[in-house]
């Protein structure tokens, strides 16, 4: 699937090349609105184009598509933003894809699809016509650049420790970082440098984690981070049983690595770890002795039994388990 980068497209727009249809795939609101603003700016010559925003709820898609096809003799350009139009069906849907193939050059259409699902028919069809632009939250290594960009945009400066803390606390999306920087900017006296304490004061919003983050922290033997992520996952409604299952998958892999010939490929592998964890397996492996791995796998088995027999749940089960893994084995 050919993709266009956000930066490349924005550069093209600034150079005067504006496409009649854009397809943004990913749920980072900041990136989405940044892009829409850029399109608006590129389309504004004498006056700003008329912008219409349609969200998924109760939109008359037929009217929207008809409106897109029609040009105006006297009016200016129109910018139509369609947010998650996946409920479109039947003839309207066919007409919509026809429009995307042969768009009206008077209008500009931006399709925003929050969910990245390459298997969905809508995404597949649209991707064949319009190359998607990735607006998912960037990977952690790119997030530092976004912090830099946002600080510059707001005429702010921050200490290295403050930047690191900002990344740690709110690095799950560019929008999250932008929100925190905006608050800090308003809260602090003008022209003051952002320090670590300012970030700690203003950023009460916990970042969002996924269960694989817990496996990563446990594999890195980081107790503090494990508890932080474990509690956050529980708070966000992630079942402790699924966390135990994910941890068990990681530690089974590590245990298999510790066995004779374990480094080779002849032993069974679960294949259920994501690429980040798989890549870091050798690093995790160095953190544990074989004896520790055996005890951890046993403790995970015991935890699984306790969950299933109702002898433990939530934090009462998770915290001692993470302590056993990250600090000392059972």
């Amino acid at each position: 699937m050919k993709q266009k980068s956000l930066r490349q497209t924005v550069d093209e727009m600034r150079g005067g090349k504006v496409e009649p249809v854009y397809f943004l795939n990913g749920n980072d609101y900041f990136l989405q609105s940044l892009f829409v603003d850029e399109v608006m700016a590129a389309l504004t010559i004498d006056e700003a184009p008329e912008k219409s925003y349609f969200s998924a709820e109760s939109v008359d898609y037929t009217a929207v598509v008809t409106d897109l096809f029609s040009g105006s003799l006297f009016g200016g350009k129109k910018l139509v933003v369609l947010h998650n139009p996946t409920r479109m069906s039947g003839k309207t849907k066919d007409d919509f894809f026809d429009y995307c193939r042969q768009p009206n050059s008077d209008n500009s259409l931006i399709v925003l699809l929050d969910k990245v699902d390459r298997r969905s028919a809508f995404t597949k069809n649209l991707t064949q016509i319009v190359p998607p632009i990735n607006t998912s939250p960037p990977f952690p290594d790119k997030m530092a650049n976004w912090i830099e960009f946002l600080l510059k945009k707001n005429d702010l400066s921050a200490t290295k420790a403050a930047r690191e803390l900002l990344l740690e606390l709110s690095g799950d999306s560019v929008y999250h970082i932008a929100n925190e920087i905006e608050k800090i900017k308003i809260g602090l006296p003008e022209n003051s440098e952002i320090e670590e304490s300012h970030v700690a004061d203003f950023c009460g919003w916990e970042r969002e984690y996924f269960p694989w983050h817990l496996s990563d922290a446990a594999g890195s033997k980081d107790f503090h981070k494990s508890i932080l992520i474990g509690k956050s996952l529980l708070h966000h409604g992630v079942d402790v049983a699924s966390m135990v299952t994910q941890l068990a998958t990681l530690f089974q892999e590590l245990y298999l690595m510790s066995l004779p010939d374990g480094q080779e490929n002849d032993l069974p592998r679960t294949g259920w770890l994501n690429q980040i964890l798989t890549r870091k397996l050798p690093t995790y492996f160095n953190n544990f002795s074989q004896n520790e791995l055996e005890q951890i796998v046993k403790a995970l088995g015991e935890a699984d039994r306790n969950i299933k027999t109702g002898k433990g749940s939530g934090e009462t089960l998770l915290v001692p388990l993470l302590h056993r893994i990250a600090v000392g084995y059972a």
């Binding site: 709820e57 969002e208 503090h224 002795s289 796998v297 934090e315 915290v319």
Partner: protein
């Protein structure tokens, strides 16, 4: 005039009056000063910390006729109407009871109209997380392109349940739990105005129980005033509140540390005498031990969700404790928690189990014991500090090896036993070698019998008596085989040309296994030894 509860009577009227949320109020005041008011705000945080109050103050500040750098005058018509919930331009909606798409569609209709006699139309949606997904979606377009005269303020205790698309369109402010000091200070100011005498220790108790919530603290104070009148003593307060104070759990852990049985029993009888539910007590104790375990780690107190004062107390208390002991105690109390509902005499059970908890020996690391043994010193006199710090150090590789060698010696008798069964007589070896032929011969008389027989293995030959061992899971098949023993003996006679009397016995799975790969593969053997289980076909 009818009585008004303290929480309503002393509800802050200005940003400056909001306690413990300076990071939010200061930002909002600055936003007014710098003219950077967002079109939608989301206030999140625990209950009773000032979210709705701040939302109302913000609504007043936005519409006040004499607003001064974000401070409402609280005197003008607009401020008055907003304070008494009569304003046509400030709508406070309870998200829990107006959660459907129809209510939000109505709201969208209202958004279109300009305010009647104020600058902005302000929509305060409390408990916004209760809205349905369809309702959130309905709100999305309005939030994306709000008319300039509209401001939204959402308040929630559970921001994680708010749709991310809504979250991302709001400026989010997170309210913190209030510190014990802030609550005590706030309460002191109020009781001075109310001319009520409350002992400092009572204020401390209320502050602790309020768990960072000023509204809870004021409700508790209201209850105490109603119960005790104008003078509230600690004794009356503890009697009346009926909530297990944190101090009790700290006293229990202190008594556990010193193995002070009488102190423990006194504490337990106090729990009983005050009418606290034992399930609540055990649940609270488990939570307390968990907090101690978390606080023990480096910067562990930062992970605790409580007031700063309590965090500090946990941090200090956990210093002298061994985390391994804490884990064992948590395991023990978790078992108590699940068993408590089934016991006939809960009080006796809890007393016995708590005393057992006190009698638990301190944990020591096997690696340390081995180290001592190898150096010839058999006494393990650990200081508390040693236990707490050294016990979780990763053991050196040499120690791991030693430990595994100890493991090997521990399992030696088992291995010996296996060995003796492996050293078979030549006669038995002959039978084992030709056993498959025997099974094939039996199949001529009936396939099911031969299939059952194939799960067994000759394990002993004494004179004419041949013992065939079967894994325990084949108990049922054994009964079938016993009924057909004559046919099997005949087949043996035909194959081995030897008369034998066959006996069937159940043995351990591994001994009876005839699958050579399973028998010999060291990985499989080790897995079975460590984790138990059985090999499926």
């Amino acid at each position: 005039m009818s009585y008004q509860v303290l929480a309503r009577k002393y509800r802050p009227e200005k940003f400056q009056d909001v306690l413990g949320q300076k990071h939010v109020t200061k930002t909002l005041l600055n936003a007014f000063e710098r003219d950077r008011i967002a079109h939608a705000y989301l206030f999140s945080g625990p209950r009773g910390v000032g979210k709705t109050t701040t939302a109302r103050i913000l609504a007043k500040a936005l519409n006040c006729l004499n607003e001064n750098n974000g401070s409402p005058c609280n005197d003008c018509q607009n401020c008055d109407e907003i304070a008494s919930s009569r304003s046509m331009d400030v709508l406070e909606i309870d998200g829990a009871s107006n959660r459907g798409i129809d209510e939000i569609r109505n709201l969208r209709e209202l958004v279109k109209y300009a305010p009647i006699n104020a600058k902005f139309k302000v929509f305060i949606i409390d408990e916004v997380h209760m809205l349905t997904q369809a309702a959130f979606n309905a709100l999305l377009k309005t939030l994306e392109e709000p008319p300039p005269h509209v401001k939204f303020i959402f308040a929630t205790t559970e921001p994680n349940k708010v749709l991310p698309t809504i979250l991302s369109r709001c400026q989010r402010h997170d309210f913190h739990r209030m510190s014990l000091e802030t609550i005590e200070k706030g309460l002191r100011t109020i009781i001075e105005i109310e001319e009520i005498k409350i002992e400092d220790s009572v204020l401390h108790l209320i502050g602790n129980m309020a768990d960072g919530s000023m509204r809870d603290a004021l409700s508790l104070t209201d209850q105490l005033i109603a119960f005790c009148g104008d003078s509230v003593t600690l004794k009356a307060a503890t009697e009346m509140l009926g909530i297990i104070p944190n101090d009790l759990f700290f006293s229990i852990t202190d008594a556990l540390k010193t193995k002070d049985h009488s102190a423990l029993l006194v504490q337990l009888s106090e729990v009983h005498a005050k009418g606290f539910a034992l399930t609540d007590f055990i649940g609270g104790l488990n939570r307390h031990l968990l907090n101690l375990l978390i606080a023990h780690g480096e910067k562990g107190d930062q992970l605790l969700d409580m007031t700063d004062d309590l965090k500090q107390r946990y941090s200090e208390e956990s210093r002298g404790l061994n985390p391994r002991d804490l884990i064992r105690q948590i395991d023990h109390v978790t078992v108590m928690e699940s068993e408590l509902k089934y016991v006939q005499q809960p009080k006796i059970y809890v007393e016995a189990m708590i005393l057992k908890l006190a009698e638990m020996d301190a944990s020591v690391n096997i690696a340390d014991i081995l180290k001592k043994l190898s150096s010839g010193n058999t006494e393990t006199n650990y200081t508390e500090e040693q236990k707490a710090t050294e016990i979780f150090q990763p053991e050196p590789q040499s120690m791991v090896k030693e430990e595994s060698s100890t493991d090997a010696s521990e399992t030696a008798p088992e291995k010996k036993e296996e060995k003796s069964s492996v050293e078979n007589s030549p006669q038995l070896e002959k039978v084992i070698k030709r056993w498959e032929e025997v099974v094939t011969k039996v199949s001529e008389n009936g396939t099911s019998i031969s299939t059952f027989l194939s799960h067994g293995k000759p394990i002993e030959l004494s004179g004419k008596s041949l013992t065939i061992g079967f894994p325990k899971k084949y108990k049922f098949q054994l009964d079938v085989l016993k009924k057909n023993v004559r046919r099997i003996e005949t087949s043996i006679m035909k194959v081995l040309n030897q008369e034998m009397r066959v006996e069937f016995v159940l043995v351990q799975n591994e001994k009876a296994s005839i699958n050579k790969t399973e028998e010999t593969h060291p990985v499989t053997q080790r897995m079975l030894e460590l984790f138990g289980g059985e090999i499926l076909d």
